[in-house]
């Protein structure tokens, strides 16, 4: 009995100030976590408010007008929207099959694991090279190379889309690979047990089972392509005209912003903010869809 009363004397309740400190720490952590969501909201509000004058003046016509004339204060982003969508579309057209091919090649047992890891690393490296370096390489290597056998005269849609494809490829490859390796091995074993060849199993079992993750990866890549700035600005030619030829110079929303922002003032800033808001809204929707799809993948 005595030992019990002794120990109850030794173990004191936690001092009040210590419990207080504990709560302060937890609350601080929580506040910082909320900061992330707040930053997202802050970006939206900031850009939207700055765009209000332009929204009031131009309304929805802004989306379909083609003239961008600071002198006359006429602004429209149709050519930029067209260029953004077309360049991203061409980039995905190239990057999706190659990206999924790479994902399959690196998830099947074609290579011994140690070599496979090196290839995975190399593909990741493609994503790590800064955008501006892709632009530099595009200007001095890719465009002169393409000029040799295409009607390309200088910067244009084609080199920009090709570089974009290269830049989003690792996104598609990495997420598709995750999705494919997450498919339960038993599904493949069942398919092979029923007599399927490797590619019958891949095309009829593995890819359909991994489809939501792969589509999520493609959406993520789309978001990347739509918002990609430096390489595209350096390669697309920055011509504010809608041209159906992929060899002609074009424009994207992000390249419009890059070229005009530093020297803009007054209504032009607001018009650029309006353009930024449109880009932000598009990428936000695409990204949220992608997140939802990728999240569903994690639940499998």
């Amino acid at each position: 009995m005595t030992s019990l009363s002794d120990s109850s004397k030794i173990i004191k309740p936690r001092p009040v100030n210590e419990r207080y400190l504990d709560n302060v720490f937890k609350w601080t952590a929580q506040i910082f976590a909320l900061t992330i969501a707040l930053v997202l909201i802050w970006i939206t509000v900031q850009v939207a408010i700055a765009a209000v004058p332009a929204i009031k003046q131009f309304g929805l016509n802004f989306l379909f007008q083609s003239s961008w004339n600071p002198v006359k204060s006429e602004y429209g982003v149709w050519p930029a929207i067209y260029g953004t969508i077309v360049s991203s579309f061409i980039a995905l057209l190239i990057a999706v099959p190659i990206g999924i091919g790479v994902a399959l090649f690196l998830s099947e047992d074609y290579l011994p694991p140690s070599i496979q890891r090196i290839f995975v690393f190399l593909v990741e490296l493609l994503a790590a090279i800064p955008s501006v370096v892709y632009g530099l390489w595009g200007i001095f290597v890719l465009i002169p190379f393409l000029k040799n056998f295409t009607p390309l005269k200088g910067p244009g849609m084609l080199p920009a889309a090709l570089i974009l494809a290269l830049m989003v490829l690792p996104v598609i490859a990495a997420i598709s690979r995750d999705a494919i390796t997450n498919v339960p091995e038993s599904l493949r074993q069942a398919a092979v047990g029923l007599g399927a060849t490797r590619w019958e199993a891949i095309l009829q079992i593995m890819l359909p089972a991994a489809s939501s993750g792969i589509i999520g990866g493609v959406m993520l890549a789309l978001g990347r392509a739509l918002g990609e700035t430096m390489a595209v600005t350096m390669l697309i030619g920055n011509s504010n005209k809608v041209s159906l030829s992929i060899f002609a110079p074009s424009n994207t929303i992000s390249s419009l912003l890059t070229n005009q922002f530093a020297e803009a003032s007054g209504m032009q800033v607001s018009a650029l903010m309006y353009a930024a808001l449109i880009l932000f809204a598009i990428t936000l929707v695409v990204n949220i869809l992608a997140q939802v799809l990728v999240k569903r993948l994690q639940k499998i």
Binding site: F25, A33, I36, V47, F105, M230, N287
Partner: protein
């Protein structure tokens, strides 16, 4: 009755059947796509080595950018500017990111955590140019000057998601036993986190942060109209509230001019930027592959 007898020959793969050939063909296609993805990487690295190294020497690292057509010069101020802005970015994003990750992995339950992770992922998908526009609106318009602070602020927002994600993952790798042992010895929650869990996760966190730093150093779009560019060294009397040079913007500015000497500097600066990401990627690869806990 003969139908029912088992013929083992039917289990053999026919090497010339269309199904087998198709499978082989598709394997070839996958290998071809793999090659197509990797070859551009090697071509780019080759050009960076070939054009970058030849333009690189000691004076390039310490001198100021030259005017067009003048030999010599370098980008010392751009290196300094990049270091300053990445440092500002880290000082802002590191505490916020690590605390947010501590909340996510240690204290959160349920909805708020999953929403925060969602917000982190969405934030990492925001185009860097939008972050630049945002920093321009928040700092450049308010203080009426381009500054290293605005550039650093923009970089901080870009680094934040990476830091949160890597720290969150690093903390979750620390086994639950360690936390229970700490609590069992009478430690508070904050003592457990700050003195036990965080130190255990530090190597992985440092790796993640270095990777974020290297990526931030190559970001150009958010700096173009927040920090702008300058041919000069920072004037310390202005407390960095003036246009500041950076390697990334230097590459952009010097890539689109027709002057040979400036183009060469652009290649040299690109080489440094890529070397930075290359080294940090390889080191982080090695560090995470040997990590044990």
């Amino acid at each position: 009755m003969t139908d029912a007898t088992f013929n083992p020959e039917t289990l053999k793969r026919n090497p010339t059947s269309p199904r087998t050939l198709f499978s082989l063909f598709m394997s070839g296609v996958a290998g071809l796509f793999m090659t197509m993805a990797i070859i551009p990487l090697f071509i780019i690295l080759f050009y960076l080595l070939y054009k970058g190294i030849s333009a690189l020497n000691f004076q390039v690292l310490v001198q100021l950018p030259p005017p067009p057509m003048v030999e010599g010069g370098g980008f010392g101020n751009a290196i300094l500017g990049t270091v300053i802005m990445v440092a500002i970015g880290t000082l802002i994003s590191l505490p916020v990111g690590v605390m947010a990750a501590i909340y996510l992995s240690e204290f959160s339950r349920g909805q708020l955590a999953s929403w925060t992770r969602f917000a982190t992922n969405v934030l990492s998908g925001v185009p860097s140019i939008i972050v630049g526009v945002f920093a321009y609106g928040v700092l450049v318009l308010t203080f009426k000057t381009y500054s290293a602070w605005a550039g650093g602020f923009a970089l901080a927002i870009l680094m934040l998601p990476t830091i949160v994600r890597t720290t969150d993952e690093a903390l979750q790798l620390v086994p639950q036993d360690v936390r229970q042992a700490s609590t069992g010895l009478g430690a508070n929650d904050y003592q457990t986190v700050l003195q036990i869990v965080l130190p255990a996760a530090i190597p992985a966190i440092i790796t993640g942060v270095t990777l974020a730093l290297a990526r931030a150093a190559g970001e150009t779009a958010p700096l173009i109209f927040t920090a702008l560019f300058t041919q000069f060294w920072p004037n310390w009397d202005k407390l960095l509230a003036e246009p500041t040079a950076s390697l990334a913007v230097l590459v952009y500015n010097f890539a689109i001019v027709p002057f040979k000497n400036q183009q060469e500097l652009a290649w040299a600066a690109s080489f440094i930027l890529v070397l930075l990401v290359l080294l940090t990627s390889i080191i982080s690869r090695l560090a995470t592959s040997t990590r044990k806990y």
